[in-house]
């Protein structure tokens, strides 16, 4: 599904180059559930952003279902992101003064779905994360766990094949965090590919494959033995 080859990301800090990612090669198949772990500043978010097409790599190649993302223009990448990728971020990235419903509808409004169908889809997505009754509330009237469910519903509305979650439980208590991870697990069981970034070992264990990254390099990549 995804293939990164020698992906390097260089930030210019003053006159110096800073390598946030250094020749990362990484392959993801359809239906995988991957956790990316690593110390703070190791480049996890940078990697996820590149996979999510909101950031561009400096060197290397990135194929998304065979298509060369590096060659795409801004519009094409936006379309890819809109149709095939759902984002869930640590700080939810919701529009606070808008209703839950509007927040969930947003990606569909940016796509080609007719308006009438969008609302039904949004309600369905909210139902699937168990907060359909909150649809008319403002996003900032919800609890952290509810907000993250809204973010997941938003990520799901265009029925993407890939969900990227950057520390989705970072602002939640461990119990709520587990509930959120259960949702990801269920989504993965329906065939959606999930990549999460996390510090938390317990959270990482939800995945089937663990990628450890350190100083911009992948230092280990192994499947998680559930029995262990």
């Amino acid at each position: 599904m995804i293939e990164l080859k020698d992906v390097t990301k260089i930030y210019k800090v003053g006159d110096e180059d800073f390598r946030a990612l250094d020749k990362v090669s990484f392959k993801v198949d359809k239906g995988e559930f991957i956790s990316i772990c690593g110390a703070s500043g190791s480049g996890k978010t940078t990697l996820l952003n590149i996979i999510g097409t909101i950031d561009e790599c400096t060197e290397g190649s990135y194929l998304f279902e065979g298509a060369d993302v590096c060659r795409m223009n801004d519009g094409k990448r936006a379309k890819l992101r809109n149709q095939h990728i759902g984002f869930v971020l640590q700080d939810f990235a919701l529009i606070n003064n808008q209703t839950v419903l509007y927040n969930v509808m947003l990606p569909a409004l940016l796509g080609k779905t007719p308006y009438k169908a969008i609302k039904a889809k949004a309600l369905k997505a909210l139902q699937s994360v168990g907060i359909a009754d909150q649809a008319q509330k403002k996003a900032n009237q919800l609890s952290g766990g509810q907000r993250q469910r809204v973010a997941i519903a938003r990520a799901l509305i265009n029925e993407p094949g890939l969900i990227l979650a950057d520390e989705p439980t970072g602002q939640l208590d461990s119990e709520t965090g587990k509930q959120i991870m259960d949702i990801f697990k269920k989504l993965n069981e329906t065939g959606i590919t999930v990549i999460t970034v996390t510090h938390d070992k317990a959270i990482a264990d939800y995945a089937k494959r663990l990628v450890v990254i350190s100083d911009g390099k992948i230092v280990s990549d192994s499947s998680i033995n559930k029995e262990a």
Partner: protein, 400 residues
């Protein structure tokens, strides 16, 4: 449809400041329109004078009763005396007959000297056309708006007989937007509009023997307007000119129309100097306000735009939504301002005394559109400057 929804949601939180800005801009444009319309009027007046021939003089401020001099006592002596001077090519003035009634409304009939029409081509442009029938009249009054027919029944007052009905022939009906030539201005008219009276109810005819006899028969109110215009002969000698001016001096004040026109132009310039800074200041102030509110909108909405980006909007779409949001203010205020121009124009057509002294011509629309373009450019420049810097990725990472 989808874009409208995105856009409507995007406006949330900046609606109040946008509304305030819109009111301010519309106010600025409104003041601009009124100032321009007032200048337009004076300028139209000036152009009317400009179109008159060289060596034409206005003689006014004659010692006369306030409502003119009775025809019977004055006769045509003034014009005759002027015409007898060897330096004068032609002299003319205007007779008015009143009271005349049409229905229950009072109106005035003016008999123009035919030469006036030749020397002031602008009158023909205004619709005073007597080619069809020199003894016909032009109905120049809102009273007659929509009037159709070849003749109209009016009534005149004749001393002990009271009012009596009679018919006059009709050449055409014109909408008297601004001026009606009567030379009836009481005294020292500085602007042409002073000698061309304005009023709602006038019937204009030519001073023919037939017309005069008709009016004489039905109304005793035939008066001179106590002012005159005379034109010097092209080849008049200095001595002949001197003689004319000496005679004119004994009758009142005189001035060449060219001089009056020059005076008008100076007055227009002076007027512009005095009245234009105010709307100009407001324009600039509202532009500044527009810029700062644009910056505010962008600052307030940056994070939101980053979320749009995250959800699959490209940079272009984010920019479009922002430009639409800030452009809407300019757009609405333009639409309102143009509507104001049209409404005022319609009001003036219906009752031309309502906006007396204003002329809402095409340049009012151009002013509005020009302001629209300027504000849009300012706003767009503002968007581009303030949106630059942080990328959506940085904003999503919480870089403020």
């Amino acid at each position: 449809m989808r874009l409208i929804h995105l856009f409507r949601a995007f406006l949330k939180g900046v609606r109040f400041s946008s509304l305030l800005l819109m009111i301010m801009m519309t106010g600025a444009v409104f003041l601009g329109i009124m100032t321009l319309a007032a200048t337009n009027y004076k300028y139209a007046d000036y152009n009317m004078l400009k179109s008159s021939p060289d060596d034409t003089y206005y003689l006014g401020n004659l010692s006369a009763p306030p409502f003119g001099i009775p025809w019977s006592t004055m006769g045509e002596s003034l014009v005759e005396e002027l015409n007898q001077l060897p330096g004068i090519e032609r002299a003319y003035t205007v007779k008015t007959a009143s009271p005349i009634m049409y229905g229950n409304e009072g109106t005035v009939i003016c008999l123009l000297h035919p030469d006036i029409l030749e020397d002031f081509p602008v009158l023909k442009e205004m619709g005073y056309d007597f080619d069809k029938d020199p003894n016909g009249f032009v109905l120049c009054s809102v009273l007659f708006d929509g009037f159709k027919g070849d003749s109209v029944t009016i009534s005149g007052h004749k001393d002990k007989y009271g009012f009596r009905n009679f018919d006059i022939k009709v050449n055409s009906v014109v909408s008297p937007m601004f001026k009606v030539i009567t030379l009836g201005g009481s005294g020292n008219a500085r602007l042409t509009s002073g000698m061309l009276l304005s009023g709602s109810n006038y019937i204009i005819g030519i001073d023919t023997k037939e017309n005069e006899a008709l009016l004489e028969e039905y109304t005793s109110g035939l008066h001179w307007a106590p002012n005159a215009i005379f034109k010097l002969k092209k080849n008049a000698t200095e001595a002949e000119k001197e003689e004319v001016f000496r005679y004119a001096e004994t009758k009142g004040n005189y001035a060449s129309l060219a001089e009056i026109a020059d005076g008008d132009l100076k007055e227009i310039h002076e007027d512009m100097r005095l009245s234009f800074p105010r709307p100009l200041f407001l324009f600039i102030a509202s532009l500044a306000a527009y810029l700062s509110i644009t910056a505010l909108v962008v600052a307030k909405k940056k994070k939101e735009l980053a979320v749009y980006y995250l959800c699959g909007a490209d940079h272009k779409k984010c920019l479009t939504i922002t430009l639409m949001a800030v452009g809407l203010v300019a757009f609405l205020s333009t639409v309102i301002s143009i509507a104001i121009v049209f409404v005022f124009r319609a009001v003036q057509r219906a009752d031309h005394e309502f906006f007396y002294g204003y002329l809402f011509s095409a340049n009012c629309i151009w002013l509005v559109l020009g302001f629209f373009v300027l504000t849009l450019l300012t706003a767009f420049a503002g968007v581009f400057v303030s949106i630059k810097g942080k990328t959506p990725v940085q904003l999503l990472r919480g870089v403020e």
